[in-house]
Structures are given as structure tokens and as C-alpha cells.
């Protein structure tokens, strides 16, 4: 029998919580236009999944966990965040 853990139940350290990649649920993803972004951090505060990361001073979604709810796009005061359907975003890459 191949086991992934020695534990008898779902115990794990907080750094290594057994992963639920909620990003798999996403239907469209937030894309930030850095020329418009004021680096205010509003999306960082509002993200319900806590999946906005600050990279070089700019807020970027962690696509492993971003469910694509669109709160950041709706609330961005500079209108810098747009929701792009996954298929379109994949094609652009």
C-alpha cells in the first residue's frame, strides 16, 4: 500500500496543509494592467481567498488559489484589473 502520509488522520503542520487548489474552480482570471495600477493594495485587502500576493510592489493573484470571483476587478479604484476568461488567457500565453 502506498501512503502519502504517516498520519492516521488529516494532521499536518500549518506550512504544509494538505492542499486544495481552489484555482481549479476558476472560470476567468484577474489580469492587472500595471500602467494603471496605483499600488494601493485594495485588492490585497479585499481578496476573500487571500490569494493576492505582492510582487515587486504590485498585487498579483496566486493562480493556484484564485477562484476568479472578480471582487478585485469590481473594487479596483483605478480600474486596472480585468477579468479575462480562462480560455482567452490561456491562448494569449
Amino acid at each position: 500500500m502506498k501512503f502519502r502520509t504517516e498520519q492516521e488522520a488529516a494532521w499536518c503542520t500549518w506550512e504544509k496543509t494538505y492542499d486544495l487548489r481552489t484555482g481549479n474552480w476558476r472560470e476567468s482570471r484577474p489580469v492587472t494592467d500595471r500602467s494603471k495600477c496605483r499600488q494601493c493594495g485594495w485588492c490585497y485587502l479585499l481578496c476573500p481567498a487571500n490569494s493576492v500576493k505582492i510582487i515587486n510592489g504590485y498585487c498579483e493573484p496566486d493562480l493556484n488559489y484564485c477562484k476568479g470571483c472578480g471582487v478585485c476587478a469590481k473594487e479596483c479604484p483605478a480600474k486596472a484589473v480585468k477579468m479575462v476568461p480562462e480560455k482567452v488567457a490561456d491562448n494569449e500565453q
Binding site: 502519502r4 502520509t5 492516521e8 488529516a10 499536518c12 500549518w14 496543509t17
Partner: protein
């Protein structure tokens, strides 16, 4: 019951079933006790609170506002490594249903006494085993006992079983409400130091995981797909291990206290028996009398008492039943959808998977505290005997209606 008081240090006390359960739990020195009262179990909470007030029990007694909270409290306390105890019955068990599932899935060694009573669906303050059957697939270990001494002893063994690192599962010790809960019997109460020594073996084992300050664990963490399957597999494997672990613990218990109940099943006059009566719980005593009577009349009947209901001791039962001609099963609950009792349904599954094909007769009796009488059991034996001789028989008989 093999009572050998001459080997037992301690004293004989007169205790009710509930008193025996509370006394047994108290002697195991639980850290946290959360009991919400419900007939016929309330006395357990009262007794434990009294032990606490008298300084005999050094535990955190939490006054909860319901059974759901009681089990939730114990889940928390057990997660941080505490020894925990609760008791409930019927409506209360139903009210804590989701948390009983949590305790099992989280592999927490909670010990609970469940005093069998008709659950909601019939407004009946009376005995039946219908309540414990509602959680038989929850992953708990379920042990059904017969008398006050067995209640006392099994509660102590339940802590050893639950907290064993090979097992780590919640244990439910059940006994028939009203018949045993308020029945006063002589109970041999051992010395505290002997109980301590019996339980001390747990402290020599690898410490179970627990949440401690500065050592941050996520529990229960999310588990999906393969990982969830893995935990279900391990849970099921632990239940399988319970079958021999219980026997091991009972053997040790017998060494320390001189009493034993045969492990998963207790056999009575089975060796040369042709037909076998299978029972659970308090009516086993009545059944013994009926078996003795029928033996005097020349009927070669034996008796098996099923103690361990979950995990179901398939192998032990098959071994005991080997070579017998016919079994009569005395049930005290209704397995809806199968039109029979639970014990019959479980035994049918066991016999089926092991290729045993002998007539099985089910007798549903004792619902809502209808008395299971010696006459009724004599009739059960007669019917079973006729079936053993090849005569036609009815699979399921409802005793109170027949």
C-alpha cells in the same frame, strides 16, 4: 460472566448501571467530562459531578447546553491530548450526530456511554437498540454489554482500547436503558492503583499527535481524493485491528482483575450445541435461563452474546457457528429497508460472505421496552429447533405481535 472475586482487590459496591458507568469513568481519571442529561442516562452526569464536588474526580466538568456541544468540547479536548468522557442516549445521540462523525473521522479516542433508548421517530421513553444503530456506520467502535459489572469493566477497557496507538478510535459502550441503567447490582470495584496500573500501559506507547502551544498543527486539514481515501482506508484498518486488540486488552484485564467477557463474543454451552441462539445486551441473561431450561428438556441449544457490534466480529462468529445446524437471532431494533433486525442483517452478511448456508431465524422483540420473557425465548428456541430439523420456517418474527 466469570466472576472470580477472590482474586480481586477492592470492594463490592451496590451500583446502578449508570452508577457503574460513572464510577468506571471516574476511576480512569478523565481530564474533561461533558455530559448533557437525558433519560435514562442523566444519573451518569449527576454522579460524575458529585465525584467532582467530593474531590474524587479531578477533571474539568463542562456544563454544556446540549449534546452537540458536549461532543464538540470533547473533540477539542481530545485534540490537545486530553482523556475525555461523555454519555448520552437516543435523542441526545441524534443531536450530536455530526460531531460523532467528526470524532471518528478525526480519530479521537473519545469514550462515550450510550444508554439504549428508542430514538426520535417514536415518542417513546423506553428501551431499544434503535439509537445506537443510527450511528453504526459512523466509524465508532460499539460494544454492547449485559450487566452492571460488565458496564463498569468495559468502560475501563474502553479507555485502553480507544487510546491505544494502534487503534485511536472513539468507543461507544452501550447498554439497555431502564433495564440496566436503573438496575442496582453488586459491582466489584477494584483499587484505584490497580486501575491506574492497567491504564499506565498507554503511557509507554508513542504519544499520539496533539496540538501544543508553539507547535502549530492544522487539524483537521483538508483531505481530498487520494488523501481522503487513504484516511478512510486507515480508519477501516484500525477497526479491523480492534477485533484482536479487544481480546488482547481483555486478557490483560482478566490478569489484573479476574474477570473476562470473552472478547468480541461471549459463548455459552456452545461446544456440543446443534442450534445457536444469538443475542446482545441485557436480554442475554434471560436467554441463558431459557437455554438451561431447554437443555434440561434435551434440546442441544447454545448461546452467543455479541459484545462487539462495530467492528462486526465476522471471523469469531463464523468460527463459533461452524458445524451448527441453525441459528435463532434475538433483535431489539428494526433495520428499515431490510424488514428484519440489525443483528440478523449483519449476520446474514457475514454468513453470505463466508459461504455459510444454514437457516437463520430472526425474532424482533423488546421494542419500546416490551419485555423479552423466558417464554418468548423458549419459543424462539423451539422455532429454531424445528427449522434445524428441516421444517419450514418464517424468517422474521415480530415477537410482540406474534
Amino acid at each position: 460472566m466469570n466472576s472470580r472475586p477472590e482474586r480481586v482487590r477492592g470492594e463490592l459496591k451496590v451500583l446502578t448501571g449508570n452508577g457503574a458507568a460513572a464510577y468506571g469513568a471516574m476511576m480512569c481519571r478523565p481530564d474533561v467530562v461533558a455530559v448533557y442529561p437525558i433519560t435514562p442516562q442523566s444519573e451518569i452526569g449527576e454522579r460524575l459531578t458529585q465525584f467532582h464536588a467530593e474531590g474524587m474526580l479531578n477533571a474539568e466538568i463542562i456544563e454544556v447546553e446540549g449534546e452537540n456541544s458536549a461532543m464538540s468540547m470533547l473533540i477539542g479536548a481530545s485534540t490537545v491530548g486530553g482523556r475525555v468522557f461523555t454519555a448520552s442516549s437516543s435523542w441526545g445521540l441524534a443531536y450530536m450526530h455530526d460531531t460523532t462523525l467528526w470524532a471518528a473521522g478525526m480519530r479521537l479516542p473519545v469514550v462515550m456511554v450510550n444508554v439504549n433508548r428508542e430514538p426520535p421517530s417514536l415518542p417513546s421513553v423506553s428501551c431499544s437498540r434503535q439509537d445506537m444503530m443510527t450511528v453504526r456506520d459512523s466509524g465508532w467502535i460499539q460494544i454492547e454489554v449485559e450487566n452492571c459489572q460488565e458496564i463498569f469493566d468495559t468502560v475501563i477497557m474502553a479507555f485502553r482500547l480507544a487510546e491505544d496507538t494502534d487503534i485511536l478510535l472513539p468507543v461507544m459502550v452501550s447498554y439497555d436503558g431502564f433495564y440496566l441503567s436503573y438496575l442496582s447490582e453488586g459491582v466489584y470495584v477494584p483499587l484505584q492503583e490497580d486501575v491506574d496500573r492497567f491504564l499506565a500501559k498507554l503511557s509507554t506507547q508513542k504519544q499520539r499527535l496533539r496540538v501544543t502551544p508553539g507547535d502549530v498543527y492544522c487539524f483537521p486539514s483538508y483531505a481530498d481524493k487520494e488523501l481522503a481515501t487513504e484516511f478512510r482506508y486507515k480508519h477501516s484498518a484500525a477497526l479491523e485491528r480492534t477485533k484482536y486488540k479487544l481480546v488482547e486488552i481483555e486478557n490483560e484485564f482478566e490478569e489484573s482483575f479476574g474477570r473476562s467477557y470473552g472478547g468480541a463474543v461471549e459463548e455459552y454451552r456452545i461446544e456440543d450445541a446443534e442450534i445457536v441462539l444469538i443475542t446482545m445486551g441485557s436480554s442475554t441473561g434471560t436467554a441463558r435461563v431459557a437455554v438451561d431450561k431447554k437443555r434440561d428438556e434435551g434440546v442441544r441449544v447454545g448461546l452467543i452474546k455479541v459484545r462487539l457490534f462495530r467492528p462486526f466480529p465476522v471471523e469469531t462468529l463464523i468460527q463459533a457457528i461452524e458445524g451448527k445446524k441453525c441459528v435463532g437471532i434475538l433483535d431489539r431494533s428494526v433495520c428499515f429497508g431490510w424488514n428484519c433486525g440489525h443483528l440478523y442483517m449483519e449476520l446474514g452478511a457475514a454468513f453470505g460472505t463466508k459461504g455459510i448456508c444454514i437457516p437463520m431465524l430472526d425474532f424482533i422483540g423488546g421494542l419500546a421496552q416490551a419485555d423479552i420473557t423466558i417464554e418468548q425465548i423458549e419459543r424462539v428456541i423451539d422455532d429454531t429447533n424445528r427449522a434445524a430439523q428441516g421444517q419450514p420456517f418464517i424468517s422474521v418474527t415480530w415477537l410482540s405481535l406474534a
